[in-house]
Amino acid sequence: MFENLTEKLDSVFKKLKGKGTLDEESVREALKDIRMALLEADVNFKITKSFIEDVRERAVGREVLESITPGQQVVKIVHDRLIELMGGDSSHLRLANRFPAPIMLVGLQGCGKTTSAVKIARHLMNQKRSVSLVSADVYRPAAIEQLKILGETIGAGFFDSTMINDPVRICVDALSDAKERGYDTLIIDTAGRLHIDTELMNELKKIKDIINPAEILFVADAMTGQDAVSTAETFNDLLDIDGVMLTKMDGDARGGAALSIKAVTGKPIKFVGIGEKIDAFEIFHPDRMASRILGHGDVLTLVEKAQMAFDEKAARELEKKIRKDSFTLEDFRTQLLQIRKMGSLEDLMGMIPGMGKIKAMKNVTPDEKEFVKIIAIIDSMTKKERINYRIINGQRRKRIARGSGTTVQDVNRLLKNYIEMRKMMKKLTRGGAKYLKRSNFPFK
């Protein structure tokens, strides 16, 4: 998510922390770097400017200069301000008092509205709501079909709009259909459109006026550049949106758009999309995100996510083991089995403080098909071998390969990956993760 920005800020704060006292000059220096980092992260130019001014005012004060750890204080100021910018408390959907409650998704082409519609539907269905989906996208080829297929995978209701040409009419019909069939929520997926396309923007306004949605969510791509502000502003001016869903957060985009959109619309970011799978969906937590930006990691999300897939105890043990470097092949196996439920290893590692995107992870993240192979190999090891990989010599490797129906090369590769992973974890626990990350930093 915000790894690269995190890194930049990390190095900036390291500089600050290294100093005993904090004078005006060093604050200025730090803010210069922070400014560059924010801009590089695609935070809007003007928002960056006011952010820097604001922090400068707070930082170059007596309180800061006289404190024992001035560097820490600047961290806190930046951190607090980031939380403020991203929205204070996390917000939920307000769907009460409407039956059915219409939720309307709007945004540019390709920002991920359709996938988001289904993710939100699933999220609400998990909360025991009954959801119907409808596509008002009569423009993009196969858009309706896409929503239909995805909707079927989660068992949501679907209003087939293929035969209706008018998006407004589609919404009206879908709403009465949802009411008739007893759904309490209707999610309306609209066509992607440019905010400067007056005709299509008016179409959205018409839908809004007639349907009066309980929630209008603006869907925004986390990779968006400086234009995020003008887009969000136009959509908000016209539709008075209720919130934002930020998509494609599983990439390495630094996501400055999140800060910008919140600052310019004043509307909360409610959800984030973190992958193509329907369950790759999270509630947005500004406080955690701010910590994440500042390099404190997001252990809370990690734990929360883990709880959903497997029990709390296992999550705690996993974390402890990662930190203690007592990560055996047996643990490796257990973890691989859990990954299926939890999302990729990359995602998981990204949530541990200090571990951003690490190039070396490439070799330790197996694809779905390899899972089976790896599990078979580990299953063919003796208990001793699983606890201490060092005893696995050539003879043992041959035996394991035979037992698992794989080749010695497969066994070698697995061991190599496992050892690499251990090494990385060791580096992580000894504070060496920064080194690993930096070696893969494209913007240095």
Partner: protein, 311 residues
């Protein structure tokens, strides 16, 4: 299709119109903001910084550009803001010129084009427009639905194939994309297709497994047809900020990119990151996308682009 189908206007006005829409939005007009001043001043450089950063050129690159302009101003090459504008334009054109290499499709044999990019950049739409252009120019073109992952991606390409009258090779959703491409290569030989455009699933450049899938497709293509893929096009959304550089770098590192397409230039985003990509990576920019219509795909011309950026 949207309502943007008035293709009667020429390219210059369309591109310019597209890029200049920015002025009505958050970004100020370059002329009004910078070149309205009478002399080259410190303020002018600050304003220039804002304009360049707002166009997504990125802070570091913008800083370099401004230093260069300051240097030239000191040497009194620039006596007026107008002169500075000219020099800056020429400077950026020099960077982009190297990337001005249109895609030429040889008329003999099969020319395979593999189209990649992150999710939602407009790959399928671009492919439809490319096929339309090729077929109109008498190049028999075949489409290949190798995005077997995203729901209804095959159907989407199928509609395009009917619209532009190009044969489509497809399998079921969930099929191995390499197998689809394998089939297509064999079909292309018998059907005497000249160009073959392969639509791949959108993927974030950071997804290791999905990059491996692309490598496999590429490997199989090379094995079945010498020199294939002949062109590997990365589709970049002009709305994207600095992350586009990371996309270009990682796709290039993993797969090898031979050309870029910059889409969605009809919005208010200027896609300035492409200048940085051109400067750092030296990859040809083959096309720009300026709308949802069939004809809204143009060959990239650096001068037009820069003029549209500044005029």
């Amino acid at each position: 299709m949207g309502n943007n189908n008035n293709n009667t206007e020429g390219f210059f006005s369309r591109l310019k119109q597209g890029l200049s829409k920015t002025r009505k939005g958050f970004v100020k007009n370059v002329d009004e903001m910078i070149f309205g001043e009478k002399v080259v001043s410190r303020n002018l450089f600050e304003d220039l910084e804002e304009v360049l950063i707002m166009a997504d050129l990125g802070p570091a690159f913008t800083y370099d550009l401004i230093e260069e302009m300051k240097y030239r101003a000191k040497r009194k090459e620039l006596e007026s803001p107008e002169a500075l504008k000219q020099i800056l334009k020429e400077y950026i054109i020099t960077i982009l010129e190297k990337s001005e290499q249109p895609l030429e499709i040889p008329r003999d044999g099969i020319f395979t084009i593999m189209v990649l990019g992150v999710n939602g950049t407009g790959k399928t739409t671009t492919i439809g427009k490319m096929a339309h252009q090729y077929i109109r120019n008498g190049i028999p073109t075949m489409l290949v639905a190798a995005d077997t992952f995203r729901a209804a991606a095959i159907e989407q390409l199928e509609i395009w194939s009917k619209r532009v009258n190009a044969p489509l090779i497809k399998q079921k959703m969930g099929a191995d994309p390499s197998a689809v491409v394998f089939d297509a290569l064999h079909a292309a030989t018998s059907r005497k297709s000249n160009a073959m455009i392969i639509d791949t699933a959108g993927r974030l450049h950071t997804k290791v497994n999905l990059m491996e899938e692309l490598k496999k497709i590429k490997r199989i293509m090379g094995r079945e047809l010498e020199g294939a893929p002949h062109e590997t096009l990365l589709v970049v959304d002009a709305t994207t900020g600095q992350n586009a550089l990371s996309q270009a770098k990682m796709f290039h590192e993993e797969i090898g990119i031979t050309g870029l397409v910059l889409t969605k230039l009809d919005g208010t985003a200027k896609g300035g990151i492409v200048i940085r990509i051109a400067k750092e990576m030296n990859i040809p920019i083959r096309y720009i996308g300026i709308g949802e219509g069939l004809d809204d795909l143009r060959v990239f011309k650096s001068e037009d682009y820069v003029n549209a950026l500044f005029d």
